[in-house]
């Protein structure tokens, strides 16, 4: 048993912290979040220049083939600094789907661009009947000649507005189970018939409505077997989910530290408010959630790297924990901060917004607890 970071992971952690301190101070996060796109091309390029976009991609395709625990260390730091980027959509979920199901030609054509960050991919799965189960994929893909025509709407798709291409999950047929008949398509965002709208709300990161109106996709744009896309989707989602948990764990830790720091400096009735037991309760709850999130996530990451069969259960458990813990820690932090907590410039609300959005992304606690129960029954 050894829970220490490796030398490589410590290096990644230190470099990531240095990067974030320099490039992603609180004001920069606010600036990016307030922008219409929620994206900074400049920051993204810098992230790609240090090799982050290729970390989950094999060397054969221009990546650096790091372990998922290595990536988890990076994501924890990204979450700590609330760093907005299309990395998860593009360099993880879509890249993993292409690695899993893509032909050699598709891998050669698509992965190098993802690894350098020159091509940004978005993953379009969720629809108006929001959910992460196969039954909720209803967007239709009708065969036309050798290719397909896609019709329907995807909602709450992160990074679609800045993506060059998208992986779109669509239903090519109906089968005995809802998972039968789902296919994955590589769709150029500039294709005729595609409309992308950034959805409005207190949501972070930005998410989009993607409307597909008779969008034509050639045969070469089908990823994997027609009708057999769900297993690819599930594997890619697992990889994305565990890294999302690392991001959320980092955010939970930061929120806890903000509460602790504030409680030690805010004076009321002549003493720091951290000496009041009711304030201590809030700070301790946020600490417990931060530590639960961290250790559940890193256990799942180590199981992914070891190829252990129970990794999927652990990933769902980590997401169930972070989906509850991150928003809860934010709530506790708001209790401690009171009025200053809702000041947008202070920075706490950036985390609260992310917590309440990300609790749903890739499945909320209800979804993942149901998944755990199914997986544990075998």
């Amino acid at each position: 048993m050894d829970l220490a970071l490796t030398e490589m992971q410590t290096l990644i952690q230190n470099l990531a912290k240095e990067f974030m301190e320099g490039e992603m101070p609180k004001d920069k996060v606010l600036e990016i979040d307030d922008s219409p796109s929620g994206f900074s091309e400049e920051i993204w390029q810098k992230m790609c220049e240090v090799g982050w976009a290729g970390m989950a991609i094999p060397e054969a395709y221009g990546g650096s083939e790091n372990t998922f625990t290595d990536l988890g260390v990076l994501y924890e730091i990204m979450g700590y600094y609330a760093c907005p980027s299309p990395h998860l959509s593009s360099a993880v979920i879509c890249a993993q789907a292409i690695l899993e199901a893509g032909s050699d030609e598709q891998k050669q054509a698509l992965l190098p661009g993802i690894a350098t960050g020159q091509q940004i991919f978005a993953f379009a799965l969720t629809e108006p009947e929001y959910g992460w189960e196969p039954a909720q994929v209803q967007l239709q893909a009708t065969q036309q000649g050798d290719g397909f025509v896609l019709n329907g709407t995807k909602l709450f798709v992160p990074d679609a507005n800045v993506a060059d291409q998208m992986l779109v999950a669509a239903r090519t047929s109906n089968g005995a189970s809802p998972a039968d008949g789902i296919s994955l398509f590589v769709v150029d965002k500039n294709s005729t018939g595609i409309d992308v709208r950034v959805q409005s709300g207190w949501i972070g990161p930005k998410v989009c409505e993607v409307t597909l109106d008779n969008v034509e996709v050639p045969k070469s744009g089908v990823l994997g077997a027609v009708g057999g896309g769900w297993s690819t989707i599930e594997k890619a989602l697992d990889k994305g989910t565990v890294l999302l948990c690392a991001y959320m764990a980092g955010g939970t830790q930061r929120v806890h530290e903000m509460s602790l720091e504030y409680s030690q400096t805010r004076i009321a009735f002549g003493v720091p408010i951290g000496t009041f037991q009711r304030v201590q309760d809030h700070v301790i709850e946020s600490l417990n959630q931060a530590d639960a999130a961290k250790w559940a996530t890193f256990e799942a990451l180590s199981q992914v790297d070891d190829g252990q069969a129970e990794a999927s259960v652990s990933i769902s458990m980590a997401k169930a924990i972070t989906s509850v813990g991150f928003p809860l820690a934010c709530d506790e932090s708001h209790h401690v901060h009171a009025g200053i907590g809702t000041d947008l410039e202070y920075g706490l609300t950036q985390y609260t917004k992310r917590a309440r959005t990300l609790q749903h992304y890739l499945g909320d606690a209800v979804h993942h607890k149901a998944r755990m129960a199914r997986l544990l029954q075998g």
Partner: protein
């Protein structure tokens, strides 16, 4: 990172030996049910094998086992619900006798303690000093407040007061006691014969097995030769031995009640459908599973910190706090899923899980520290996070007055 405990071939070979002996010598469940007398005999036989204190040398009543072999033995005992036979208090006492200079007559007891021929109750020790404002020392001599006060009288100490004690044997040979030396800031640690005049152990009916016992001292006189260490060593001596990272020698397991609950939900049907497929039941059973796994992860973290000699600051208190809250949450979820059947004990033929749920309903109310006020672990965490007054008041620094 590696979250798995790996066993060597030596450990696995020893495991076979342990399992074979336990299978041959442990009385059947029926023989054990509702009858504690078998346990004393069983402890004695384990003591004869050196298995109560296996890492101690043979001449000290142990078997000279490696720490790895102790892990295996502790695991197999725990799997059979017998972890408590390896009395932690006795183990801590022998460490204290090894490491702190004491009278030879006390050191001569080591072999008998390790062999289970002498049984010990140890005083409940606070995990940390209390928060500012609560007094310099853990004890005062107010009539209703916990604490044993010792008064020097020639070559003797005279003990008064009361304290909570822990120990597996209903009739201890000795009480390992912490006392405050009257008129000073000092504490002393004494090995007090349980039959000493002036000691009374009120009998009370308790909700669960092997609870903490309250012992009263009323002018109990004891010779200085029963002192462990020196004057002033009391609290550090007992803390440094009794408060080692508990359970750090055994790879943490998921709480058995979670496993029982999962199994119950998977095998019990309502209108032909397994309970685990009912959405609300599914959610709460997984909630219990998650609570248990997080507790297991925290214990794994603590064991790793212990094994790598890292200073454990808030973590032990956090783990205790989480496990305590989890136990209560399990109890709620069990009542929700299992219903009123959860209250049937092993005697009732209709009791699910052989009455384990009913046992847990009672055990979930067991306090980690019987003298602790609610939130003591939270206070410890807050202290380690620096959320306390920077300056102590004069009252905090003043010694306790009789």
């Amino acid at each position: 990172m590696d979250f798995t405990y790996h066993y060597s071939s030596t450990q696995e070979a020893f495991r076979k030996e342990v399992c074979a002996w336990l299978d041959a010598n442990l009385p059947s469940e029926a023989a054990r049910s509702g009858n504690q007398s078998w346990l004393l005999d069983f402890r004695t036989r384990l003591g004869e094998k050196g298995w109560l204190a296996p890492t101690e040398p043979v001449e000290n009543g142990g078997m000279g086992a490696s720490s790895g072999e102790q892990v295996v033995l502790a695991e197999e005992l725990e799997l059979r619900g017998l972890r408590s036979v390896q009395d932690r208090g006795a183990a801590a006492l022998t460490q204290a006798l090894h490491n702190w200079p004491s009278a030879p007559q006390l050191s001569d007891l080591i072999s008998a303690i390790n062999g289970g021929r002498i049984s010990i109750w140890h005083a409940n020790i606070p995990h940390e000093t209390p928060e500012p404002g609560a007094g310099v020392l853990p004890f005062s001599n107010g009539m209703h407040e916990e604490g044993v006060i010792s008064t020097e009288d020639g070559d003797d100490y005279v003990l008064n007061g009361w304290a909570w004690f822990h120990g597996p044997d209903p009739n201890p040979s000795y009480l390992w006691t912490l006392a405050h030396l009257e008129g000073t800031d000092s504490t002393i640690s004494l090995l007090v014969p349980a039959g000493l005049e002036g000691i009374s152990i009120p009998v009370s009916r308790q909700l669960m097995d092997a609870p903490a016992k309250r012992v009263r001292f009323d002018q109990a006189r004891i010779s200085r030769s029963f002192l462990l260490g020196s004057t002033g060593d009391g609290l550090p001596l007992m803390r440094s031995t009794l408060l080692v990272a508990s359970d750090s020698d055994v790879p943490p397991r998921l709480d058995p009640i979670v496993i029982h609950l999962q199994r119950y939900a998977e095998t019990t049907t309502r209108q032909g459908v397994p309970l685990i497929q009912e959405p609300v039941t599914q959610q709460v059973v997984m909630e219990a599973y998650i609570e248990g796994r997080v507790a297991q992860l925290f214990q794994t973290r603590d064991a790793w910190m212990w094994a790598t000699a890292q200073k454990n600051t808030y973590q032990a208190a956090q783990t205790r706090m989480w496990r305590k809250r989890a136990a209560q949450r399990y109890a709620q979820i069990v009542r929700q899923v299992v219903g009123v059947y959860a209250l049937l004990d092993e005697v009732d033929p209709m009791a699910p899980a052989r009455g384990e749920f009913a046992t847990h309903q009672r055990e979930s109310l067991r306090p980690d520290d019987p003298s602790g006020v609610s939130g003591s672990d939270a206070a410890i965490i807050a202290r380690h996070l620096g959320m306390v007054w920077k300056e102590e008041t004069e009252r905090d620094r003043a010694p306790v007055q009789p």
